[in-house]
Symmetry: C2
């Protein structure tokens, strides 16, 4: 298992030199702290100078295990389950751009919030079918780039479908694509899973990426999740991928990264 | 410690005979299962035939430890922190009506969702002051009825202020009323507290009511909260009040009540 932490690229501003420098500093800090990788949260890769990003990652000897895509939902409302077909097409287009971007790093593309919500008045089966069709188009496109997608169950307050790992597995089976895996996020699991550990065991054939955040979404060690036991469980299922800290920038961005690595370093991986 | 469970009175329909019968059945079931009390969730007590409610409770030898008031926020948008003074006044008026209703049962009045949210564009201190003023008016009124209010910290997704017990205590101190206590809800605490148990210990002088729901908001025993340890902690602080199940009606209303009492009966109170 390797360790990473999410770094957000505020893509609209990345062309500004100050922001590039800021990103460079963040990535250097991640490397200095001893992480193996940086997961990148990107709104729109088209706004990025991709070569700059590639070079900064390379210079710091980091990997990019995954690309987070939720900003396009939060800031632009793009989603796989929007009743408007045009919005769904734009969401798929955005994910295709993310797939091309991810292919430079051998990174997975996360399908989290961008799956959207089944809106009021929408038939649930129909809304799910929209999301399934978008996922089929995206995974099909991703195959030619040899990129994997990973579906993230999120808690009930962030989406009204795919909240548990088992719901995620059910959805993955319905999509029927071999390059679609499951993302297990401990913050969401603490709310949604009957047992965090049993759920990991049951999802062993599907998990391709893991997010670590404590029960209050602070760095591991700041809440009441037993990360030692989570890691032991991941070892039991022979998970070889990344555990990636997706946490609130609290008490501040530097401290939360440091607290994460300090807590994880106490645990035998 | 005594045990209760929330029963919702859909007040708009209570005047209809069918609904009264439905309420009567629910209360009888609660009594038959062995609960000591029924917490009543009421939108507007003015819509109720109060004597009918009193009689039904009495006939079943139950107590009413608390009145839930959140429906007025969810369904009517009444809140203590709304920028519109008229809305805040209507919210206080509603809570006054709840206080009169509660006085028939020696019940506490819960200030949960009705405190509202600090809306975008509102200065946080000003928004909190609005809520504090509403709470002062409500507690002052409640004194003449010998009624206590209890402030419920809820998780970040349900309100953007007073999420933890310690934030609740801070707020109670700012209000400065002797008849305002704190409500500890295990579902919210699982998300917000660094340690559920330590938080209870630290809040020992403030807790006047407790909600039990498991980590997934199902009946105790259906998630991963250790209710045995929660009860041991409540005993440590010499808590003498009610633990009241505020849970989702899943897998169905009857089963969740039965599952609650079965799980609690396994634990030494």
């Amino acid at each position: 298992m390797k360790k990473s932490i999410v770094v957000s690229i505020s893509s609209t501003k990345f062309s500004a030199l100050a922001f590039k420098e800021d990103f460079e500093k963040s990535i250097k800090k991640v490397a200095d702290l001893g992480f193996d990788g940086a997961e990148l949260a990107v709104r729109n890769p088209k706004d990025l100078k991709v070569n700059d990003v590639i070079n900064i990652i390379k210079e710091n000897n980091l990997e990019v295990p995954a690309i987070g895509t939720g900003q396009a939902y939060g800031e632009e409302g793009l989603s796989f389950s929007d009743p408007d077909e045009v919005i769904r097409k734009m969401a798929v287009k955005r994910i295709k751009d993310q797939i091309v971007f991810a292919s430079h790093f051998n990174a997975q593309v996360i399908i989290g919030l961008i799956r959207g919500n089944i809106e009021e008045g929408v038939n649930r089966t129909e809304g799910e079918e929209w999301a399934i069709n978008c996922l089929r188009k995206s995974t099909e496109f991703a195959k030619s780039y040899n990129v994997r997608l990973t579906l993230e169950p999120v808690n009930r307050y962030e989406s009204n479908f795919i909240n548990t790992l088992s719901e995620g597995i059910e959805f993955i089976k319905r999509v029927g694509a071999t390059n679609l895996g499951l993302l297990a996020d401990t913050f969401h699991m603490n709310i949604e899973e009957v047992s965090i550990y049993d759920s990991i065991i049951q999802a062993k054939n599907f998990i391709t990426h893991v997010h670590f955040a404590d029960s209050n979404r602070w760095a591991p060690g700041c809440g009441h999740i037993d990360f030692k036991k989570v890691i032991e469980t991941l070892k039991k299922i022979n998970y070889q991928g990344y555990v990636s800290a997706e946490i609130l920038p609290l008490p501040d961005p530097n401290s939360c990264a440091r607290l994460t690595i300090e807590h994880l370093n106490k645990i035998k991986f």
